[in-house]
Amino acid sequence: MEFKDYYQVMGIARDASQDEIKRAYRKLARKYHPDVSKEANAEEKFKDLGEAYEVLKDPEKRAAYDRVAAGRRHGERFTPPPDWDVGFDLHGEDIARGFSDFFESLFGGKPGRARWSADSQSWSPRIEGQDQYAKIYISLEDAFHGCTQAIKLGSSAIDRQSAASRKTRTLNVKIPRGVREGQHIRLPGQGSPGAGGGGNGDLFIEIRYRPHRLFRADGGDIVLELPVTPWEAALGETVIVPTLAGKVELTLPANAQAGQKLRLKARGLPGHPPGDQYVILRIVAPPALTEEAKALYRKMAQAMPMNPRKEMGI
């Protein structure tokens, strides 16, 4: 197992005062709270922070940890030295939830309920498993068609001696078609296991979309920016448009302008009702690379003079 430098995790010096530790914890807890932070590994960081604080906030645990930590660096291989805790009373308090093997080897815990919590819970023989929260990133195609995706979960499994150990488990989760960004999928009984006859917690999975090359989602609607030529727009021609279900034909209104928004009804994400697809036109002018092309542009300037900056008063 790896040694964890709790001072490094909290970004403080080894001789930091208890007040400094508390302040650092509160500041970082706000920064890395999984509900607040946009960082991809916020949950991991928040958990490490909670674990570090669990030890450093308690002068007794901190002193015992300091004895072990002397001369050791973050990440180096670690086995607890025998009798490392002689002279410290560390096991009077029951502590919680899915901390690292490193933590468990030193301060051995009992299972608790609150996975993201930094507050300890008192132990009782019958423990309901805690609810777990996780995010899953899926493509828009997967949201449209539905999919099955494997998700890795850290959980504090409880063995017969009621000792918590951190284990990773993998679940294959069915993602139904039409699921929207930010929605939760509730999986009853798939959270952390309970103990002493207590039931399992539930698992809540929040859906996030990965950025897509062409589309973006707005609720159940899909938005696509579509490049068209000036003549396609002016003449109202029929163009082929990609949708999540495949290509469709779209007839542009004559004299369509850049930025104009066209709606393809019910071509968005499935649902009741299904979303629409919005097509926003972007007019792309061909470069005048040949004499012939230049002549055509000059002819257009003569045949249909226009001042696009009229509204600017120029």
Partner: protein
Amino acid sequence: MGKDMLVTVSGVVLNEEVRFTLGELCETCKINAEFVLEMVEEGVVEPQEGATPPEWRFDAVACKRLQMALRLQRDLRVNLPGAALALDLLEELENLRRWQSASRP
């Protein structure tokens, strides 16, 4: 664990069609009714339908907001009005981020 041992599980999508009674909301979020009443009082969540608590029906957004408010209170020691403010600001931030990514070329 080998790949062949992976079980596929399916759950319930908490989408816009889902409605919770007060009791169902309490069960889903593992909280008591007084707490929900406080949250309604504070404006953290609003029932979609119903005039009195037994008739109340909540949507999935209420469920999500309640759970977030609980975690913020527990993990960051904010009080209820503080959690309500944080939730509103987080929602606004998410909307702004969406606009920002929409206007990016």
